[in-house]
């Protein structure tokens, strides 16, 4: 048989391969820098968009988060994030067991109104034993009782422009440097107190606990948001009981959100006010939540 070919230079190919390998390593080393460029950040967000698109495509309102028998309830429901808000007004409320407290529902609604704990308990209730999945990776199972968010929204009556439900909470996560009136959480009933610090579990998602000696600025309290799809899901409730007992302060008393098809940081604790909005712009940095404004996904279904 006649040779049809001359031998190509394997060394050249080898060199190219090695060069490709080096380039790969350099790219990986540059990953961190890439992720800080605007383009890189936008590209990295494509995964969240795909997750939201596919899960919204497949998840109907009838798709319920898994519920568990009471025997599966965790002996200790790990409190995370803020576990003991130091805000003076919140402490006053907690001291009198939230007597006189009321949940405000306002924004793009026909009938803004307030609900006391007694009002909320008198409304139709839902009890669900579900698994709480923290973004860090751990899970805990608890039995929640509360009023479906849809009940409150129906009573308040959404305006046609309504698209998002924003939850304003009582717990200060950190103090912003400026005293600008543009606040993430402007209409809190609670005023900051100069000497107070907050018990934020900084391990929650890598947050720096504010330095007690630092000059205090405007408090940034926890805030979260969901859209109407999740707001009207039957398992989306505002829980006032955990495992048959009044919600403890560490788990978000007097009221916390449960959005069972999403991760733990969406389950806002210490909810003081529900605001119906047409956009998330103007709340914090516009990401839709305290952690969202610090890089976490707004859609936390994965």
């Amino acid at each position: 048989m006649k040779p049809r070919l001359t031998t190509p230079a394997p060394h050249r190919r080898g060199f190219l391969a090695a060069a490709a390998g080096l380039l790969g390593a350099a790219t990986l080393g540059g990953c961190d820098r890439l992720a800080t460029t605007p383009w890189g950040r936008r590209a990295l967000r494509a995964g969240e968009d795909a997750n939201l698109f596919v899960q919204r495509l497949l998840l109907t309102p009838a798709a319920l988060a898994q519920e568990f028998p009471d025997s599966a309830i965790s002996p200790w429901f790990k409190p995370n994030g803020t576990i003991d808000p130091q805000d003076r007004d919140y402490r006053a409320l907690a001291a009198r067991r939230f007597e006189g407290w009321s949940l405000r529902v306002d924004g793009l609604v026909e009938r803004p109104q307030g609900f006391s704990l007694a009002d909320l308990r008198a409304l139709p209730a839902r009890t669900q034993t579900t698994r709480h999945d923290c973004v860090e990776g751990w899970s805990a199972i608890g039995r929640w009782t509360g009023v479906p968010l849809a009940e409150l929204l129906t009573r308040a009556g959404l305006k046609p422009e309504a698209r998002f439900i924003v939850f304003h909470c009582a717990d200060t996560m950190e103090f912003a440097e400026s005293d600008a009136p543009d606040s993430a959480n402007p209409d809190m009933t609670v005023r900051p107190e100069g000497a107070e610090n907050q018990a934020s579990d900084s391990k929650a998602a890598g947050a720096e606990a504010p330095d007690a000696d630092a000059p205090k600025g405007r408090p940034i309290r926890y805030y979260e948001s969901i859209d109407l799809t999740d707001a009207y899901h039957p398992q989306t409730i505002l829980a006032y009981d955990l495992n048959g007992q009044a919600l403890p302060v560490s788990n978000g008393a007097p009221l916390r959100l449960r959005v069972e098809r999403q991760l733990g940081y969406k389950q806002a604790k210490y909810v003081m006010r529900i605001e119906v909005r047409d956009t998330l712009a103007g709340i914090g940095d516009g990401g839709g939540g305290y952690w969202e404004d610090r890089g976490y996904e707004w859609y936390a279904g994965i």
Binding site: M1, P3, R4, L5, T6, T7, P8, P10, H11, R13, G14, L16, A17, G24, L28, C31, D32, A35, A43, L44, R45, A46, G47, E48, A50, N51, Q55, L58, L59, A63, L64, A65, Q66, F68, A72, S74, W76, K78, R131, D133, C134, V135, E136, G137, W138, S139, A140, I141, A205, G206, E260, R261, Q262, W291, R294, G295, Y296, E297, G301, I302
Partner: protein
């Protein structure tokens, strides 16, 4: 010899001392290298995510005081910090590697060291974004590979051992242990251990990574009770981690064997498609009277 030209596998070109066989079609080569990138980023960002809560459990919920695996740091009686890995209650000192490692020159409590996590510093949010973006790339790439591989018959030819190979299983194991690799005609196909290993990875470990990954999603869980397949969400997370270890082990062995059985030939094969079998190892070729 343009690599991009459409070629059937097993195209053979004879040269003076070598037989060139076209081994890897373009789709398989592309899928291979895209997979390399995906798995490296998934591994490093996955370890970043693990670092946010460096403990593993069995069941639906976490049993915080009794983890199956935990990577922690503590102080010994004389006040020295150390890193610890505990598995099922037994601890091992892993200072410098796991639990406690240097970050910018400072010993830092950290499950996996910064040189192997993405991002290098502790940043769960960005780690998750890397992980999910490249999980999508991994899935799409894997689907293209599977559709092409099954449709073209490549997957069966490449990965399913033929009858005679099953009979030679024993001797194949012996040859592998002594690092003797098939030559000549036999080198044209993957040997039986190679086929079985690739089959386990392609049909077992990689799909298992996807399933256990999806099982951790509360959204997916509302659609299908995937965690139940593995005994609960925390079990799925533990399996995800263990299978990751098996994949790392596979890659180490794979790269070692690539090195030992002819780095340049293997690398050329996966880059251009062409693989060389030395002629001295071939049976006499009819008509070749030189």
């Amino acid at each position: 010899m343009a690599a991009g030209t459409a070629r059937a596998t097993d195209d053979v070109v004879e040269t003076v001392r070598r037989r060139w066989t076209f081994r890897h079609p373009l789709v398989i080569r592309l899928a291979h290298w895209i997979n390399v990138i995906c798995l490296v980023i998934l591994l490093m960002s996955g370890l970043q995510i693990f670092n946010a809560h460096p403990a593993l459990y069995w069941g639906d919920a976490s049993t915080f005081d009794r983890p199956f695996v935990a990577i922690t740091d503590d102080q010994t009686d004389d006040g020295t910090a150390r890193g610890l890995v505990s598995v099922a209650g037994r601890s091992l000192d892993t200072t410098g590697w796991l639990g406690l490692s240097n970050l910018n020159g400072e010993p830092t409590g950290r499950a996996f060291p910064s040189w192997i996590t993405l991002p290098a510093h502790q940043d769960l949010a960005t780690g998750r974004r890397w992980h999910f973006l490249f999980a999508w790339a991994f899935v799409i790439n894997g689907l293209i590979y599977l559709v092409y591989g099954i449709g073209s018959g490549q997957l069966r030819r490449r990965l399913v051992p033929q009858g005679d190979q099953w009979r030679g299983l024993g001797s194949a194991i012996r040859e592998h242990l002594t690092l003797r690799f098939p030559e000549g005609q036999e080198a044209k196909r993957y040997n039986v251990l190679q086929k079985l290993t690739y089959l386990v990875v392609v049909a077992g470990l990689l799909p298992l990574m996807l399933l256990t990954g999806l099982a951790m999603s509360p959204g997916v869980n509302a659609l299908v009770p995937l965690p139940d397949l593995f005994g609960g969400r925390q079990s799925a997370r533990t399996v995800h981690f263990l299978v990751m270890n098996l994949l790392v082990l596979f890659v180490i062995v794979h790269v070692l064997l690539v090195l030992l059985s002819g780095l340049w030939n293997n690398l050329r094969g996966m880059l251009t498609g062409w693989y060389v079998i030395e002629r001295r190892a071939l049976p006499a070729v009819p008509g070749d009277d030189r």
